[in-house]
Amino acid sequence: MSGLPISRRGLLAGSALLLASTALPAIGRAQTPKKGGRLIVAADSEPRNLNPAIVASNGVFFISSKVVETLAEASFDGKDGLQPRLALSWEGSADGRSVTFKLRDGVKWHDGKPFTSADVAFSALQVWKPLQNLGRTVFKDLEAVDTPDKLTAVFKFAKPTPFQLIRNALPALSSVVPKHVYEMGKIEDNPANNAPVGTGPFKFAEYKAGQYYRLARNDAYWDKDEPYLDEIVYQVLPDRTSAAAALEAEEIQLAAFSAVPLADLDRISKVPGLKVITKGYEGLTYQLVVEINHRRKELADLKVRQAIAHAIDKDFVVKTIFLGYAATATGPVPKNDPQFYTADVPIYPFDVAKANELLDEAGYKRADDGKRFALKLLPAPYFNETKQFGDYLRQALAVIGIDAQIVNNDSAAHMKAVYTDHAFDLAVGPPVFRGDPAISTTILVQSGIPDGVPFSNQGGYKNADLDALIAKASETLDTSARTGLYKEFQKMVAADLPLINVAEWSFISVARDTVGNIANNPRWAVSNWADTFLAG
């Protein structure tokens, strides 16, 4: 490896003049799928549990989704935004009590055993429902899974469950694990959680803590032509700036999930041989949200919340903090969601005079030092952007006379302070929209959630009308009626501001020109990469 880059660099330098004229054919060549090769990818964290059936999170999927497959994957052009994976078709009954999956034939686990409906039944009942972070909510009424034959699985629900919700949950929540590997002993302690066994295009090969994960080609993959790559190596690069350096030094070929800081993208897009890709994350939208502690009497006042909403210059946030790689938000459903989003909600344009007026009306006049009251602001430490927005929000609030003091915590302390101890007035959080408001969005404003549940309403907000609406939507089976209820939900949230949605963003990939078939589905970074290839 050490000798190679030099010779390649020499070649590049020698042909620099030629390059200018032959640039177009070079790009064309990169699009022809080619077999073989090792793709080296930057990984910024090392998930401890690699079982996506237990931990449905992007950090785990990034690695495990190539090994363990789901019943269906998200798609740009498929029906209902889905494409088949382990399931070929899915059909919900009219009463909302059952969903029938027809499974793919001829699929084998990595250890050679055949994949059957028993594996699906086991995964759903023994793993998703009792153990999975998201499945515990979505599959809570799942009672039984009938397996009339080896390739049919029928989910039976105790209470009517909207088929739309189950469908929307498939890409993230339906990772199927092998029954024969997990049926002995406790599922949580199974060694396969750290070295997953699945049906995917790649087999889990090795993990060196602090260094890399290696996945190797599954020669017995059900799609005979795929995968193209021989190997995927995830190189652990904990420092935020090292992914860009590694790409430039040609040590890695791909950095997903914005491992290259946004501020560096402009420069890196001009580096020859590298491309910046903004697509492929449409199904993974993060929301920049100001969480509000309604126990504070000032913040319990709608006028104050409206004032704060008016004080935030969303365009500035998108332009300066996200450098344009984001969209301003209007409410709790992101603009890019094709099913539920509505623009017909109350909006809060940036208006400092209006904000000041609202605060005066609420009775919080400026004291002699120009300040009205002080707040404790806790920006979530998980993203650079949430921290930067915290810095910005402090300044924006200072302008309208609210003195916000930032409290920086590390992840664990932030979790405890906000979601268990409620020791915050305002917090900046990055909840994820997962394709259906019922999966992880309504929980942000619903009341009656026990203390300590992360990414949920821990601000003490209580609105009986909103709770009723959420409850009604959760049992509405008709797709268009259900969608209508969630549009109503967006209006109510935007009107009463239990939290303030500021922006919606996704991630950016940077790759070498040689990497092909990137970003060809809305969850590309966390999909199976069976058709990804390396040219040249």
Partner: protein, 328 residues
């Protein structure tokens, strides 16, 4: 030899107390932390109240602090470091996996700063007050004033990205399946930048100490005597002056060992070296109390052993021996 043994015995007894203080102190510090291992874990997953309770129970975090401390100490008596909650593996294995990287990084950096530092110190101290003396001493001080992480970032940009002479990070080329000499060379190439970043900073320490010791030694009687006897200057510098100035540097080696490990936290993170320093940072972030205790314990033992070796070396290199010979 008996002197060395007495020293050894006294040190070992003292060390047990020191280690006990370290363990209990660290445990209490970590227990005072807001948020536990479960809080740290669910950041990346989310989950409902039932799941959180389940995890707390599985990881034994629903027991009282005292029970956990007692359990930990009891296991420690049996030389068992316990189980890491974040890695779900025995802590001994996790630490042993990371120890070599840290040892080789710290060892090379120490060798670099000690070797180059004392050599330059001799060069500078050979003519106290000369231009080269001033230049080296201020130059090294300027290096000492550079934050290690900053030096690391600059080295990466210059040597790994722009010049591409060296790899940007890691301890070896990932999944390269190299063995033997090829692997050793690969590791060496990966070590150049982090070792430089860590080693150049501590260079000043040895350089200036050597130089100060030499300035002192020039005024000593035996050096004056040697000069009076008309010995060549080069010989006086090396055999008499430098030799006597070297001893405090050996003591410094012991004192610095703990600080090097601290400095390697940041360097390991910048250069993606899978070592103990980075593991410690992960353990703090993940609130993995037993893991952090294990790391602190191992590094404390390491520091104690190094200091013991330094003391033993010192006992052999008794300064009066050198002085006596010089006068004779």
């Amino acid at each position: 030899m008996t002197r060395a043994l007495t020293l050894l015995r006294r040190r070992l007894v003292g060390s047990v107390f020191v280690l006990l203080i370290v363990v209990i102190g660290s445990f209490l510090l970590l227990e005072a932390a807001p948020g536990d291992a479960v809080d740290a874990y669910i950041v990346s997953t989310g989950g409902d109240a039932g799941m959180i309770e389940l995890l707390r129970h599985r990881w034994g975090l629903d027991q009282s602090e005292l029970t956990r401390l007692a359990n930990y100490l009891w296991a420690l008596l049996h030389l068992d470091l316990g189980q890491s909650v974040t890695f779900s593996r025995p802590i001994r294995d996790v630490i042993l996996e990371r120890l070599p990287s840290t040892l080789i990084l710290m060892g090379s950096a120490t060798a670099l700063s000690f070797g180059l530092g004392s050599a330059l110190g001799i060069y500078a101290g050979a003519r106290p007050g000369s231009f080269r003396d001033r230049f080296l001493s201020i130059g090294s001080l300027a290096l000492y004033a550079v934050p290690g992480f900053w030096l690391g970032l600059v080295l990466i940009v210059v040597f790994a990205v722009d010049l591409r002479w060296l790899p940007i990070g890691g301890i070896e080329t990932v999944a390269s399946a190299k063995t033997g000499v090829a692997r050793a060379r690969d590791i060496a190439a990966h070590l150049v930048l982090p070792v430089s970043a860590l080693g150049f900073i501590y260079l000043a320490l040895y350089l200036r100490m050597m130089r100060a010791g030499m300035a002192e030694a020039w005024r000593q009687d035996f050096v004056l005597a040697a000069r009076a006897r008309g010995l060549p200057r080069r010989r006086i510098v090396l055999a008499h002056v430098a030799r006597n100035a070297l001893l405090p540097l050996v003591t410094m080696l012991g004192l610095q060992s703990a600080q090097m490990l601290g400095g390697s936290v940041v360097i390991e993170s910048v250069f993606a070296v899978p070592g103990l320093g980075r593991l410690a940072q992960e353990a703090v972030a993940g609130r993995d109390t037993p893991l952090l205790l294990g790391i602190i314990l191992v590094s404390a033992v390491l520091v104690i052993v190094i200091n013991l070796l330094v003391d033993l070396a010192y006992a052999f290199l008794d300064p009066r021996v050198g002085a006596g010979e010089a006068v004779a």
